[in-house]
């Protein structure tokens, strides 16, 4: 995880991001993605600044952040494991795998334990080699309980 930044540093960085992206047509999503890439989540305190710079209301920015599943309002764990919950992976045992992951980590989806955040995802386009997962942004196919345990053990979880 990125080291904790001072409130001022967060706002300065956000201001730079807005400056970088402001020339785009429809800049808000690219800005929010960049903010999340910089801080690991979209800090509440950046919203008024973004709203102000784009000349839209805070409510509008907040509405956008909350609409999309991707944007986090708090930091995730050090590692993020996204398990596909969609139909083609279900047909290949994704439900049992998800149960296994939840039991092993002792959390439900969206929960964090031992520095690992477990999240559901609806399809990764790996539907012919499911169950599929995205582990810290990297694709994994034909995942089973043993392999998942290995990955989690590698994270010390």
């Amino acid at each position: 995880m990125a080291p904790a930044l001072s409130a001022e540093a967060v706002l300065n960085r956000t201001d730079d991001i807005v400056t970088e992206q402001a020339g785009l047509e429809g800049p808000l999503l690219p800005i929010l993605h960049a903010v999340q890439a910089a801080f690991g989540y979209v800090p509440q305190e950046t919203l008024p600044l973004i709203a102000d710079r784009l000349n839209i209301s805070r409510a509008e920015v907040h509405g956008v952040v909350s609409f999309y599943h991707d944007f986090r309002e708090a930091p995730a764990g050090k590692h993020v494991v996204k398990l596909c919950r969609a139909e083609a992976c279900q047909a290949q045992g994704a439900d049992a795998l998800a149960d296994h992951a939840k039991a092993r980590l002792g959390v439900d989806f969206h929960g964090t334990a031992k520095d690992v955040t477990l999240e559901p995802v609806f399809c990764l386009g790996l539907c012919a080699c499911g169950p599929a997962a995205l582990v810290d942004g990297r694709v994994v196919g034909r995942l089973d309980a043993a392999r998942l345990d290995e990955i989690l053990a590698g994270f010390g979880a």
Binding site: E25, G63, A88, G125
Partner: protein, 510 residues
């Protein structure tokens, strides 16, 4: 020696990067000069990572290759080896296809314009640049191409509306949100032959008078995003994009935009809101996006495969393309066969194969070896088909006639361990999670739907007619197909697999 190891996400998910690294390592330690090409996937996912070696006898395939196999492949000089599959193009699965849209996917280096051109690329764009706007639109219409994003709307007619609209700025928006389970054709072409999508968008732009394009790619596709961005870079260097497309004096450029994990943003008006930086709420139509789309300007919104098919239509002619197919479903369709299936992957062929031929013949039945129970066609909003309907030919009207849809042509195979009540519940749950919230039948109906299926699961048979009513309400009263089509998987499960809804009742009564 030239060796190919796919950079396709499915190949990577099965270990392709490690195999590629080991090939480089082995070549180095053996002092063999190897050119490693990270190509797209040929689509035979059960054989990934599929390694190919260029030999005097042709491109030879080996798969599925693990890191541990690499040394032995070198020892064998990429000849006789237990993983050898022969010449790639002669593998039965490849030989049986009609690859038009995917002709280059897995064959070329995705980021080489020279390779692209050597395999027919840019011929379509060059031809389009010699045509008038009206001729480009007519060629597209004459090809019979219909939207591959699911709705099946004729692409040429959509283009005509945009071409005829008067505006200072028009846009081409490529819908690469590909959220449907069992679909990966968009991802595969973006990773394996991104220049064909760029060429298709350029033709669309020249045709309707749009100078700017966007590809809206879902964030769940990090690999596709990376390749697409790189491809736009090489296309600019080669003047395929820019102020003077191939020196024609006509401008077209494009950029990638990344979604943020909302399924509904695949719906075109929701996608446009998202591109504009708003909540991905569905807009009422009219106005059509073709007249008032991105930032209120005339906009073509087309699926990746629709646009990626345009170059071959312009290269070979509308009549050539139209000659393939069945009824009003013209040309070819990249079937994506997924789930519990022996031979899963992408298979491009003319419309018209029956569901049974696809699942049993091409897919080879289930991976588990158990009987096929159901096949969901067309993603989370598509119907579950029982074996009894396996004679249905693959076509838009043919599937609609059986209360289903082909959608983006993804098929999920389930074996007899599937519980269709559970699948019906999931369909409602998914709709509840992904609803944009604009209309009540969808937003509230889906939540009630989950509760109602749970009642049935607890043995309350009286809830079955309630579920049917609810589905009718959602079907009739929803603004878009998320709420409107969720009844397809639910009602097909209930209609074709009534036992799964009754067994639960008996268990509860015991």
């Amino acid at each position: 020696m030239k060796i190919y190891v796919p950079r396709d996400a499915a190949a990577k998910a099965l270990g392709a990067d490690a195999v590629a690294a080991e090939i480089t390592e082995q070549a180095k330690s053996r002092g063999i000069d190897v050119t490693l090409v990270r190509n797209g996937s040929r689509g035979m996912v059960w054989l990934e990572p599929l390694v190919e070696a260029e030999t005097p006898a042709g491109r030879m395939a080996f798969g599925p290759v693990t890191v541990a196999d690499v040394a032995a492949l070198f020892d064998a000089g990429f000849g006789a080896h237990p993983l050898a599959l022969g010449e790639t193009d002669k593998i039965d699965w490849m030989a049986r296809q009609t690859r038009l849209t995917f002709a280059r996917c897995g064959v070329i280096d995705p980021l080489s314009v020279a390779d692209y051109e050597a395999h027919g690329g840019l011929a379509g764009l060059r031809r389009a640049l010699s045509m008038t706007s009206a001729e480009i639109v007519k060629e597209t219409t004459d090809s019979g191409l219909r939207g591959r994003g699911g709705a099946g709307f004729p692409t040429g007619i959509k283009w005509k509306t945009v071409a005829d609209a008067k505006a200072d700025q028009k846009y081409i928006v490529c819908n690469a949100d590909e959220g449907d389970s069992a679909t990966f054709a968009d991802r595969m072409i973006m990773e394996g032959d991104p220049l064909t999508l760029i060429e298709g968008m350029a033709i669309a732009g020249i045709g309707v008078g749009a100078t700017k394009g966007y590809v809206y790619i879902r964030s769940e596709y990090p690999d596709a995003i990376e390749v697409m961005q790189a491809a736009i870079g090489v296309a600019r260097e080669a003047a395929v994009l820019g102020t003077s497309v191939l020196g024609s004096g006509r401008a077209f450029d494009m950029e990638v935009r990344v979604g943020a994990g909302a399924y509904v943003c695949g719906e075109e008006t929701s996608l446009l809101n998202s591109l504009e930086g708003k909540r991905g709420v569905v807009r009422a139509k009219p106005p059509l996006p073709a007249l008032e789309g991105f930032l209120g300007k005339p906009t073509v919104v087309n699926n990746v495969i629709s646009l990626a098919t345009v170059p071959v239509i312009f290269e070979k002619g509308a009549a050539f393309y139209k000659d393939f197919g069945l009824g009003r479903s013209r040309g070819t369709i990249p079937l994506q066969i997924a789930g519990n299936v022996k031979h899963g992957g992408l298979f491009e062929c003319a419309f018209g194969q029956t569901l049974g031929e696809i699942v049993d013949g091409i897919g080879g039945g289930t991976a588990s070896g158990r009987p096929v129970k159901a096949v969901q066609v067309g993603g989370p909003l598509g119907a579950y088909f029982p074996r009894a309907l396996f004679d249905t030919p693959f076509g838009y009207e043919e599937f609609a006639g059986k209360d289903g849809l082909i959608g983006h042509a993804g098929l999920t195979v389930f074996d007899d361990s599937a519980d269709m009540l559970k699948q019906a519940r999931f369909a409602m749950e998914f709709c509840a999670i992904e609803s944009c919230g604009k209309c009540t039948p969808c937003r509230i109906g889906a939540v009630r739907g989950v509760e109602t299926v749970d009642r049935i699961a607890r043995g309350d048979a009286d809830a079955i007619p309630i579920l049917t009513d609810l589905c009718n309400t959602m079907k009739m009263g929803s603004l878009c197909a998320l709420g409107g089509f969720t009844p397809y998987p639910v009602m097909s499960a209930l209609t074709h697999f009534p036992d799964d809804f009754r067994v639960a009742h008996q268990e509860a009564a015991e």
